[in-house]
């Protein structure tokens, strides 16, 4: 129970950080708030027993933070305009409302008669022993023997669900290509070559 309360506190912290990041007028503060939210998320990953995800989250967060801080500091002024964007405020309020609804459903809908499984329970777990073995417990039981990988996450990512990983790799490839294309067009306008 203690862990759950800690996680709820961390989620509240992330929510406050995200709201500040969306509403503050100082760009550097917004970047720092985004970083705080990301690191809180990595702590949540660690508490929920997902060290793989936590490691990835931390390193990606560090890189993204360095990149964003550099981009922000590269500009002369780090403050946005004074004009309040009504659309942005509306979007923030809408996101808050969606979060409230999700929280309400998650709190009210869990348990034996709820549609959402209890906190920490596997989504694909089969409570009925008589039925055939569900897929997730099958992975857990047979993973090391079938794939030879001691880390079950890698056994699933790169063996059972390798198609998914191929798709993710393609997404990264295409997005990096997009970055190159967008920045290359900009880089051609100057006299000296890019590096």
């Amino acid at each position: 129970m203690g862990v759950e309360h800690f996680i709820v506190a961390l989620i509240l912290f992330m929510l406050i950080a995200a709201l500040i990041a969306a509403e503050t007028r100082d760009l550097l503060s917004a970047v720092i708030c985004i970083g705080a939210a990301g690191f809180a998320l990595s702590v949540i990953d660690l508490l929920l027993g997902a060290p793989d995800l936590a490691i990835t989250q931390v390193v990606v967060e560090v890189i993204a933070l360095v990149l964003l801080v550099r981009v922000v500091l590269r500009r002369e002024d780090t403050s946005t305009t004074d004009a309040r964007d009504a659309l942005r405020t509306g979007a923030v309020l809408l996101a808050g409302g969606v979060l409230l609804v999700v929280t309400f459903v998650a709190v009210g809908g869990t348990g034996a008669d709820g549609t959402i499984p209890a906190f920490g329970a596997a989504t694909f777990a089969n409570p009925d022993e008589a039925l055939p073995s569900p897929v997730s417990s099958d992975y857990l039981a047979k993973g090391p023997a079938e794939t030879g990988a001691a880390n079950i996450v890698m056994a699933i990512l790169l063996d059972y669900r390798a198609y998914d990983t191929l798709g993710e790799a393609t997404v990264i490839f295409v997005s990096i290509l997009g970055v190159y294309v967008i920045l290359r067009q900009v880089g051609r306008r100057k006299q000296e070559p890019v590096l």
Binding site: D52, T56, R70, A149, V153, I172, V179, G187
Partner: protein, 154 residues
């Protein structure tokens, strides 16, 4: 400010530590099938080493080590390697079928193709992120007026 990059303290620290950061990234990726980590996390750590070098020494000098053509080549190599690993599955059955003996669990040489796939993802993610950062740091040479104005409004 005659020299590009940061102060001599940062440069010397980077000179000592950047290799170890890169080595740690490779370690994280190569032991992905034994302990938490994997190709993606290792690749990001590898890119972090490249980012550190570029930030400390300035993109002009660091361009000898980390530059866009190199990142393109290694990015493509990683993507191709992952596909080749997947296609090699046809040796024993089909797409993405483990074609190497899986060995003993908890040993470094286990998991069949999983370490190979991790290595390919390491190259792909590391070179991709490093290349994106290098491309971003080309911003400082100037942007067209229209893009600069849009960027200020964001």
């Amino acid at each position: 400010m005659s020299q590009p990059g940061m102060t001599i303290i940062v440069k010397n620290t980077t000179r000592i530590i950047a290799g170890f950061i890169a080595l740690f990234g490779v370690y994280i990726a190569l032991t992905g099938h034994l302990s938490p980590g994997g190709g993606f996390a290792g690749g990001v750590i590898l890119a972090a080493a490249a980012v550190l070098v570029v930030l400390a020494f300035g993109s002009g000098f660091a361009g000898r080590i980390v530059n866009e053509p190199k990142c393109h080549i290694w990015d493509g190599t990683g993507a191709m390697g992952f596909l080749v690993v997947a296609l090699c599955g046809y040796i024993t059955g089909g797409f993405f079928v483990n074609f190497i003996p899986i060995g003993t669990a908890h040993h470094l040489l286990s998991g069949g193709m999983i370490p190979l796939a991790n290595l390919a993802i390491l190259l792909k993610v590391g070179a991709g992120l490093a290349g994106a950062f290098v491309a971003l740091s080309a911003f400082k040479y100037g942007r067209p007026r229209s893009i600069r104005r849009v960027g200020r409004e964001l």
